[in-house]
């Protein structure tokens, strides 16, 4: 038996270099942007806007990669079928590694939701305004005052929703690490993950 196979599990490269780099760039871009948004002040508010541009570009790259990228990151792979969700919930509490070759159904679904939220966040940010700091998105001047207020209100609500979803994402990764004894963090750095080999009848 080779070293990259033990029992039912085999080491496979599931995350390509683009998606790994993308993931960690998104972590930096969204967390820094979020913090600069929540604790914005006169001196740093422009950086919040720049990080919004970065996040927007990253979302566009992800959409392209979701169409042209490898199978584990494709958008079609991310959206689970109801039967996949049912199957997954039955094994959710099991105290053993899933050995899944990519996102679990909820993970895939939450990736899609997070991408939508980020897209909404970037778009509303372009039209938002902070009148106490005299700072506004680059397109705020193109729409009515009422539109700017609405965009800003949505921008603030989605900021909270993003916090919730990122929190759930981190909580799920910790649950896998501590309860299911499956490390999902290292694969997102190296690309290599232990995958359960499908047992076939001899």
């Amino acid at each position: 038996m080779r070293a990259d196979q033990t029992g039912d599990y085999r080491r496979e490269k599931i995350w390509d270099p683009v998606i790994r780099l993308w993931h960690w760039l998104l972590v930096v871009s969204v967390s820094t942007g979020w913090l600069l948004g929540q604790f914005r002040d006169f001196a740093t508010v422009e950086w919040h806007i720049y990080l919004g541009y970065c996040t927007g570009i990253l979302v566009l790259i992800r959409l392209m990669w979701g169409i042209f990228g490898p199978v584990p990151v494709r958008l079609r792979t991310l959206l689970p079928s109801p039967s996949q969700i049912m199957e997954y919930t039955r094994h959710f509490g099991n105290r053993k590694p899933s050995g899944s070759p990519g996102h679990n159904p909820f993970g895939g679904l939450s990736v899609v939701i997070m991408l939508v939220l980020l897209a909404v966040q970037v778009c509303t940010g372009l039209f938002s305004e902070d009148d106490a700091l005299f700072a506004s998105g680059p397109l705020a001047g193109w729409i009515s005052t009422g539109g700017v207020l609405r965009a800003t209100a949505i921008h603030h609500v989605v900021a909270t929703l993003l916090l919730v979803f990122v929190g759930m994402h981190v909580a799920a990764v910790l649950y896998y690490l501590l309860w299911k004894r499956e490390n999902l963090i290292v694969p997102m750095i190296t690309g290599w993950k232990w995958i359960r080999v499908i047992q076939r009848d001899p």
Partner: protein, 156 residues
């Protein structure tokens, strides 16, 4: 005689027009007054923020004038612009002032005092160069937020 009658009629007509323009609801007049007041504040603050951000060239005289105007506006005793019953529940669609401005009083007044102090600090140094302006403008923005974050709805 006829001229006097015409004149009186004209005055009567005019005064009716003026009354109609001012509105017959003093509470709504107060809302309009404070919104106009905010426009004045914004008009004087915008160039100061523009200079501090480097979007407008710093001009010591102009900066001093705008900062003095801002301080003067901040020091106005304009509690009458905020009569009770002019929150965004009573006047939905007309104002963004939350009922909390009255129900948690005097919190809003304390926040207002922070803003008054910040404009005073700014007016003191705004003419002393760009760095001096920059050192005090952030606090003015924070002063705006002091009320806007807690006592103003995000939308009408």
């Amino acid at each position: 005689m006829r001229n006097i009658l015409r004149f009186s009629a004209a005055i009567a007509g005019l005064s009716f027009l003026v009354t109609a323009a001012a509105g017959d609801d003093p509470l709504e007049d107060a809302i309009k007054a404070r919104q106009g007041y905010m426009q004045v504040v914004k008009f004087n603050a915008a160039p100061l923020f523009g200079m501090a951000k480097g979007k407008i060239e710093y001009d010591a005289e102009a900066a001093k004038t705008y900062a003095n105007n801002l301080q003067a506006a901040a020091m106005m005793k304009n509690g009458a612009m905020w009569p009770e019953g002019t929150d965004n529940v009573s006047y939905a669609g007309k104002t963004r002032t939350l009922p909390e401005a009255w129900t948690t009083y005097p919190k809003v007044a304390e926040a207002n005092q922070v803003w008054i102090d910040a404009t005073g600090e700014l007016a003191r140094v705004a003419g002393d160069g760009l760095d001096a302006l920059r050192s005090k403008i952030g606090a003015v923005g924070e002063g705006c937020k002091g009320c806007h974050d807690d006592f103003r709805a995000e939308d009408f």
